[in-house]
């Protein structure tokens, strides 16, 4: 029996949800972001219990469930823990592929920071590579105030 729906044309409704948000960074993240902007410096927060230095800083420790304590300056240099080379353009990338994302453990920090590694050929990337932050000339107090990290 012929399917009566065979000749039915289906419609597609194309749309886009655009909703403005104003996410408050809060005092902890604000201090971190303003340190990037004003002093080109990374700061972390030290947990009063496990003594881990959290970078990026958090108001409470994700491991210990207690409020973190003092602010600690950490280096703008660190080590690549893992990385990937982005090969496809998803439409939301901050750079033209191919480029490198990495988890970077800054000297003096106990957690990894996600960022971009530039001035490097993809095939030269490896775990353990030492990298240093390259700050943007125009800084506005956001993560991309660090343009990327480059091999030392």
């Amino acid at each position: 029996m012929a399917n009566v729906w065979d000749k039915v044309e289906t419609r597609v409704y194309e749309s886009r949800i655009k909703i403005p948000y104003a996410w408050q960074a809060g005092e902890t993240a604000s201090h971190f972001l303003l340190s990037l902007k004003n002093e080109t410096k990374f700061v972390g927060k030290k947990c009063t219990q496990c003594t881990k230095v959290l970078v990026p800083p958090r108001k409470s420790c994700p491991y210990c469930f207690v409020e973190t304590g003092e602010w600690v300056d950490v280096s703008d240099e660190g080590v690549v823990e893992t990385y990937t080379v982005v090969r496809r353009d998803t439409g939301i990338l901050p750079a033209k592929p191919p480029f490198v994302y990495a988890v970077i453990k800054l000297d003096g920090a106990d957690t990894g920071l996600l960022h971009i590694v530039g001035e490097v050929k993809p095939e030269a990337m490896k775990e353990g590579l030492r990298v240093k932050a390259v700050f943007a000339k125009e800084r506005t107090g956001r993560m991309l105030d660090v343009e990327y990290f480059k091999p030392v």
Partner: protein, 381 residues
């Protein structure tokens, strides 16, 4: 404590861009099939838990849009945001509360209707991470590299997993992709985010699934081929990727250990007859088989090479083809439960493993790069 069982399962064939249904219409036949499978009607359902994600659906309070096709009109309905295994966990808890005798749990996804990197990018913290443009694939690539480097897992071993699962899917009438892929085909597919190649990644699929969970009394009254829930456990790791040891799946190890304790399982590799795990990427099946204790840390590559995880092996993993063949986000974990039930009943057709399945494991993941894991142990008794 009271016991609970899964007494009905229903599923649609997963696919690419399904243009003949909207997402609610896609879910309806899965619900009807689950009730039919249980041999009951909607009148036998005491409450409903839908599982959905507003971003994927493009609609806020998306559970409200699937209520009517889940038979929820004039009934109690609640929603879980996240993978279907977590929705089923909540559904089971409602049954075990003593208030409800049966719960219908549904999950659906039409991933084809949106742009997945935009959606998974929104899973990241807007202040610290999102502007970097990461998505699920690039984040999981960071995890893959970390895991593969620490344990010397090769890309070839990952390709074996993808080939196995794609070929298993040839026997799965509900699979989205039915591709006879060799390990070489996987190896020669284009690089997406090193070390992940196209066929190391699951597709974005449309699909829907529903299950009926009943307490002991109602199972004995209604259940024709119940799969008893012997244990469920879940555990979560930290949110920011930089806080986690990405080479390990500590949350899964913990969830599995707890589930095994509850189910009285001391040697999972021997005592579990078949496992359906959340292989969103080929390396993840390897990581998860380690986390589930089927082998030691770092041994999953060799386990795959030995053939042990094939349909004919001693610990078959994803005889359905897993997520690598069909990945309707949200529904994927609940489909693992449905596939485990099929295996226990001996009704998995050509997917059926060649042994008496007394105990089956189903596994779901929520969050980026396996942040949260849910482990189900189902059994004949």
């Amino acid at each position: 404590m009271d016991r609970a069982a899964i007494i009905g399962i229903g599923q649609t064939k997963a696919g690419g861009r399904m243009k003949d249904f909207n997402y609610a219409e896609l879910l309806y036949p899965a619900v009807v099939a689950a009730l039919e499978d249980a041999g009951i009607t909607i009148e036998d359902i005491d409450n409903i838990v839908t599982t959905s994600n507003d971003f994927w659906d493009g609609r806020t309070i998306s559970s409200m849009a699937t209520g009517d096709v889940s038979g929820a009109w004039d009934r109690n309905i609640s929603c879980v945001e996240g993978d279907g295994t977590f929705g089923a966990f909540y559904g089971m808890c409602r049954v075990l509360s003593g208030v409800y005798g049966t719960t219908l749990v549904t999950a659906h996804s039409k991933g084809s209707e949106s742009v997945s990197p935009y959606i998974t990018n929104a899973a990241f913290d807007p202040i610290y991470v999102r502007s970097l443009g990461l998505d699920m694939v690039s984040a999981c690539a960071l995890q893959a590299r970390r895991y593969m480097n620490r344990y010397k897992i090769s890309e070839e071993q990952c390709a074996l997993v993808s080939s196995k699962n794609h070929r298993n899917a040839l026997d799965n009438p509900n699979a989205h992709l039915q591709l006879d892929l060799s390990p070489e085909d996987v190896m020669s597919s284009r690089m997406v985010c090193d070390p992940l190649k196209l066929y190391d990644c699951s597709p974005v699929s449309d699909g829907a699934v529903a299950v009926v969970i009943a307490n002991e009394e109602r199972t004995k009254k209604l259940g024709k081929r119940p799969a008893w829930i012997q244990a469920v456990s879940f555990c979560m790791d930290n949110y920011l990727l930089g806080d986690r040891d990405l080479a390990e799946c500590a949350a899964l190890t913990k969830a599995a250990k707890k589930a095994y304790e509850t189910a009285g399982i001391s040697d999972p590799r021997k005592e579990i007859d078949v496992a359906e795990v959340y292989d969103a990427f080929s390396y993840q099946e390897l990581m998860w088989t380690e986390g589930l204790g089927f082998c030691d840390s770092g041994e999953a590559g060799r386990l795959a090479e030995s053939g042990a995880t094939r349909k004919t092996g001693d610990i078959p993993v994803n005889p359905s083809g897993g997520l690598l063949a069909s990945h309707p986000v949200i529904a994927a974990g609940l489909i693992r439960i449905a596939e485990a039930v099929r295996q226990i009943r001996g009704e998995a057709g050509k997917m059926q493993v060649d042994k008496d399945v007394r105990t089956a494991l189903a596994h779901g993941v929520n969050g980026v790069a396996g942040q949260s894991h849910c482990v189900w142990i189902l059994g004949k008794e």
